[in-house]
Assembly symmetry: C2
Homo-oligomer: 404 residues x 2
Amino acid sequence: LRSWTLKPSEVLAPKDFEASAISVGLKQSGLDLALLVSTRPSFGAAMFTTNAVKAAPVQVSQRYLQINQGRIRAVIVNSGNANACTGPTGIVAAEAMASATANLLGIPVEQVLVCSTGVIGTTLPLERIITKTAQLKKSLSVTSLHAASEAILTTDTINKVCTAETLFGGTPVRITGMTKGAGMIHPQMATTLGFVLTDACITHDLLKKALSKANQGSYQRISVDGDTSTNDTLAIIANGGAGAPSINQPDKDYFHFVDGLTQVCQSLAQQIVRDGEGATKFVTIRVNGLRSEKQATRVARAIANSPLVKTAISGEDPNWGRILCAAGYAGVPFDANLVSIALGGLPVCLGGEAVIYNESHAQEILRQEEIELTIDFQAGSSNAIFWTCDLTKEYIHINADYRT
Amino acid sequence: LRSWTLKPSEVLAPKDFEASAISVGLKQSGLDLALLVSTRPSFGAAMFTTNAVKAAPVQVSQRYLQINQGRIRAVIVNSGNANACTGPTGIVAAEAMASATANLLGIPVEQVLVCSTGVIGTTLPLERIITKTAQLKKSLSVTSLHAASEAILTTDTINKVCTAETLFGGTPVRITGMTKGAGMIHPQMATTLGFVLTDACITHDLLKKALSKANQGSYQRISVDGDTSTNDTLAIIANGGAGAPSINQPDKDYFHFVDGLTQVCQSLAQQIVRDGEGATKFVTIRVNGLRSEKQATRVARAIANSPLVKTAISGEDPNWGRILCAAGYAGVPFDANLVSIALGGLPVCLGGEAVIYNESHAQEILRQEEIELTIDFQAGSSNAIFWTCDLTKEYIHINADYRT
């Protein structure tokens, strides 16, 4: 059985990829403009926010994807300004970012994805970006992926990257990802910004399917505050640079690729939760024993989004009634008298009622930074897993004072 | 045109109603057990939480309502313990509370509604309640409604009451209500605890319809944290004590009654929002110009529940992008380029884009304790109104440390 070697804090360039990152003054300080490029023809796929209000770069990228026949060569991305709710001016700005990039690289404009993140409703200072793209091209290198992963951050406190390595037919292949998160993360609505590069060789159709599958098992299973961005984008570029055998049917190689991609996306998604705005705890929610995975996921999401559950965890309070209560309003029918709940393996509720447990043991579990909630419904054989964080005063502080 | 005189901080007993409240040690201090009684035969109606996990008193009250043929004479209610997630023991305890009350008053047990609020998952100390019910009966009086309105509170900082008065055929009629709120309020899921007493004379059928209508226009339009209790109950008792003409068909008198009841319930619901856990601002959200009231309500609810909108308001930040963003994930399609947003009458977004506004004027508006957000979609002629509060560090403090 082949496996992937996961390096969750490394961002090693796959073959024939380069990156660069510079500061153009969109953020108060630090890198805020990044470019990711495949130096050879490549396929790409992307998924976007389901918000009815889509930022200009999302609208523009979606249009390009409809005409580029699966070809994506580059991603241009800025932080500090979301270019959302900016009207026709915003569309022109996003197109200008893409076309400046395409001209520099000598590729068709529709092969450029354009992304933005930051404040909503403020006109993008386009000149600052356009006048610096030449500099961006000049600093392209295989070692600049780390800088790029910094340039996409907003309220994140740490950069979020992951590299996975394996062999296809004896040839080393890499999947490398970077992401940004913090607040505004909600599973139902695609993702935050996430970019994955791979030197695997895979058809466009299978690449799209693999991304969708990996997204389901990763970004769709996290929640920070239940809000959804206007800008969420998850994109992948595959360029075949490794020289490994081509993946062109849903065979073992394909499933191995999906496995690696899912692992990378899970690592990225979990890093987002760990760095959730103001978060002090990483919470894994396991919902077991419902009639369908859809029901289990719905219940897990309700628990993950409940402010009362999240504040109880922040307060290290074994208040399991709030977990059961949140499950109860998920819109999934169940018999409360069959439910069991465990905190970090310690049963606190059996058959819908309190069980006597060792308070100091419970305290010890809740003092940990990693907490696992398991809730079993005894109503079926479907399960779901979800990752979230606690809700703290620091979250309020960050979000009350973000713009001003 | 007849109108109602509203007294939002008064709780004046309608004719032939009595109340009492005592302390039985369920809360650390203060009144925690209340009784509301009609001294003559009366009709009643009630609405309950839609949470799949229903507290024992909700289950018991729902069963009584199925067999009492619309007759409700009394409500027994405790705070400090929700008697939820307490299994068969909890059911027995709720039944015992009702039957002790019925015995004292000499009425059938199914004419007693039983309600609880407080911590979930802890066995109700039934003895403390049962041994004190005689004392509860002894202290029944027409002046104890205020004490009763205190006894139903949990994390509330103030009691919430309202009296409305009018004339029916020249005869004075009262509708008097009390409620408790703070956290765990969510519109889709019936209500928090709310009790309304009236000496109007109305048939059981019309009383039920009037309550449902009033609930739609009040409790269904507020949000504190989006969570929903296992115990939410809104009940009304009408005893005809005023001696006014009977309301027995959907005529002008009926609509006048519905109007008064809605005003009382709106006042109570708004008092809940004003006293939302940690809240410092009262926010009115007006959604205009959508294709249906359902769509407008859905958008208003998404805005009202958005942690990012609520923290922005707490931070007095005119971050209208978050309002548009929350509207965007409500599941209602619209053209972002047609949307306008105003804060307290000051336009901040027109046609989906920022408008230049006077920053100091915006600051002045946001410094107020009452803030009105208006969002217009230009997509239809349906509107909705919603009331919510801001999300503050104090909310986290209250909920992280509630049980411990």
